[in-house]
């Protein structure tokens, strides 16, 4: 099955139809998507700023990251559930939107980075140098901000 026919199928699912016909449903799900983002970004930001040396400096970063991890995961889960839901509402439109594909790439990169390098840098026994920690924080922040900006561009570049 080609990607396009997958998107066509998504567009025709009952959920997709419902999101398009109901005036309240789409803004509602998109609000929940945004709430997930705020939780995800809020928690990651504090950890990243800590790595850069600008956030919570009084606590060891591994301690902060450990306590915030469940919240980050909650935010991520909310986004990964509501995101594909929203996609069914306008799958074909998204297929033709290059900002959408750029967003997907950044989201994939940001998540991959979070679960690998970022996780290692903020783990309890990490012996990372301050300079390295700083670059990990900057890369993570950049990836998430780019994902957010690409997401916002989706509407701006809709033909």
């Amino acid at each position: 099955m080609s990607t396009f026919s997958l998107f066509q199928w998504l567009d025709h699912t009952p959920l997709g139809e419902a999101l398009r016909s109901n005036r309240v449903l789409f803004p509602l799900v998109s609000s929940i998507h945004l709430l997930g983002l705020a939780l995800l970004v809020g928690t990651i930001l504090v950890v990243d700023l800590g790595l850069v040396g600008a956030g919570m400096r009084r606590q060891p970063i591994s301690r902060v990251a450990g306590q915030l991890e469940p919240l980050t995961w909650t935010g991520l889960a909310v986004m990964l559930i509501t995101g594909p839901m929203l996609l069914t509402g306008e799958a074909i439109k998204m297929y033709c939107n290059w900002a959408f594909w750029i967003k997907l790439v950044f989201v994939a990169l940001a998540i991959a980075f979070y679960f690998t390098v970022h996780r290692k840098a903020t783990s309890a026994g990490s012996s990372i140098t301050p300079a390295r920690a700083k670059s990990v924080g900057i890369v993570s922040l950049t990836l998430w901000i780019c994902a957010g900006l690409a997401a916002k561009s989706i509407n701006a570049f809709t033909p």
Binding site: R23, L35, T43, L45, V46, G55, M56, R63, L68, N155
Partner: protein
């Protein structure tokens, strides 16, 4: 001067015209506005969740608040400045939006709640702030703040759908 007349005047200013004319400037402002609100709400929630016993529960409340607050303000300044410019651009349309009025009301309530919290319970934070279980009034403030800011994000989304569809 009635509010509507003011909005109509606002829309005729060169600033308002300029923002409306350029879709790049307009979407740029919307993007920064969204980033600002995410920064504001995201960081406020961390404090709210701490008050409710989630997240940074092993850190003193004052430690969490003092270190995170500068970023909340950064987000708020971004949100407020771009929000004002966006309001200038479409003042009359936004004036008629019920979601916008709800959003303003919720921001006001969130501000009042934060003010009351700071002036009352938080004053004694040195005595209760070390425990992961906070006094009922602090928990109430956290819950209200969490709810108000969820409402702000939701109402903000609703403006876009109410006005542009």
């Amino acid at each position: 001067m009635p509010l509507l007349t003011f909005c109509q005047w606002l829309e005729r200013t060169p600033l308002s015209f300029g923002i409306r004319q350029s879709s790049l400037i307009f979407s740029g402002l919307v993007a920064i506005h969204t980033l600002g609100i995410i920064l504001t709400a995201g960081t406020i929630w961390l404090v709210d969740l701490r008050l409710l016993g989630f997240g940074l529960r092993r850190e003193p409340v004052s430690d969490v608040l003092q270190q995170i607050l500068p970023w909340t303000w950064t987000g708020f300044v971004l949100m407020f400045s771009t929000g004002s410019l966006l309001f200038c651009a479409e003042a009359v349309m936004v004036y008629g939006s019920i979601a916008f009025r709800i959003k303003m009301l919720l921001i006001l309530l969130a501000g009042l709640n934060a003010l009351i919290f700071h002036k009352t319970v938080y004053r004694a934070a040195s005595t209760w702030g070390l425990s992961s279980v906070t006094p009922p009034r602090a928990r109430l403030a956290g819950l209200l703040s969490l709810t108000f800011w969820i409402g702000v994000v939701g109402a903000g989304r609703a403006i876009a759908y109410e006005v542009y569809r």
